[in-house]
Subunit: 143 residues, 2 copies
DNA sequence: AGATGATCAGTAATCGTTCCTGTTCGCGAG
DNA sequence: CTCGCGAACAGGAACGATTACTGATCATCT
C-alpha cells in the first residue's frame, strides 16, 4: 500500500467522522495482502492471525465503514458470499461458477457505460457494478 | 405472456430434460403478472394465492431450474434478497438503496460490453449482469 | 395397471450477516 | 494528567434467505 493511498484513506476517514482504529487498519492490510477477492470470513481469518481477539462482527462493521467511505468495493455474486477488494478504480472481475475463483478481466473499460446510465435515469447513481460469471479455462476443459 | 414466448419456454424445457410442471408454470405466471422484480418470497405469495399447498422450497427450486434453462434472470443486490424477472434480453435495472424499489433504466445497451468481455477473458462467460444502485428521485429529495 | 424416476410439500438445518450487551478505547475538556 | 463521554469492540445470540432432507405424489413409459 503506497503512501499516497494511505494519505487518501486517512483523509476519507477524517472527512467522514469515523475513526481509523487498529482493527480497521488490520482489515485494510488484510485486503492489501490477499491477492484474490476475499470474503468477510477470509478477511477475518487473516486479521485473526495477528490479533486473535478480533470478532467477526467487527470485521463486518469495518468492511461496511470502509465501503461507505469509498475505500473498498463490495461485490455480490450468486452462490458466494460477498467479496471485497481495495477500490482501485473501475475494473472488471469474473468468477468461475464451478471452482469459485475470482480473477480480473483486463482491458475492458466501462466508464462511458456509467455515464450513459446517469444520463438515462432520474436516479442518483451511487454504484454501478458489472458482475460477470462463467467457467474458468480449467473447469471448462473438464466439461 | 405471448404464444411465441410460451413455445420457446416449452422448447427449453424439452431440451433440458426438466419437466414443465404446474408449479413451474405457476411460478412463471407469477413472474409475468408482477410488474416489479419480485423476490422468491414475493413469487411464493403470489403462487400461494392460487395453490395454497405450494412450498417455498418448491418455488426456490423452480426459480433455479428456470434460471438454469435461461427463461428467467436472477439479480443479486446488496441489502436485498435475490430478485427475478423474465429474461427479455439484456436490460438494466436500478434499485433504490433507501426504499428498495427496482425500476428499469431505458435506452442503455451493453451488448458490446458483453462482447468485449468475451474477447478479453479466457473464461467461458455465461452471465454478465450490470447492477446499478442509487437513490430514486423521491428518496433523494428527502435528503 | 405397475414400475421408476422426477418433483413436491413440509420442515429442519445451514450459512452469511446483523444485532445486542456489557466492556474497552480514544479523545477532548477541564 | 485524568475524568467523562461517545465511538468502537468482543463475544455471542438472533435473524433472514436459502438449501437440504424425508417421505408422499406425480408423470410417463412399458
Amino acid at each position: 500500500m503506497g503512501a499516497t493511498l494511505e494519505r487518501d484513506i486517512r483523509e476519507r476517514f477524517r472527512r467522514s467522522g469515523y475513526t481509523l482504529t487498529s482493527q480497521r487498519k488490520a482489515v485494510l492490510e488484510a485486503l492489501g495482502e490477499s491477492r484474490g477477492h476475499p470474503s468477510a470470513e477470509d478477511v477475518y481469518l487473516l486479521v485473526k492471525q495477528k490479533n486473535p481477539r478480533v470478532a467477526l462482527g467487527t470485521v463486518y462493521q469495518a468492511l461496511g465503514v470502509l465501503e461507505e467511505i469509498g475505500v473498498i468495493e463490495a461485490k455480490h455474486w450468486s452462490e458466494s458470499p460477498t467479496r471485497y477488494d481495495l477500490n482501485v478504480g473501475p475494473h472488471l472481475d469474473i468468477r468461475c461458477l464451478r471452482c469459485g475463483e475470482v480473477s480480473e478481466v483486463p482491458g475492458v473499460h466501462f466508464e462511458n457505460l456509467e455515464d450513459s446510465i446517469r444520463a438515462a435515469t432520474p436516479y442518483e447513481v451511487t454504484r454501478a457494478t458489472v458482475v460477470v460469471e462463467g467457467l474458468c479455462p480449467a473447469c471448462h476443459a473438464e466439461g
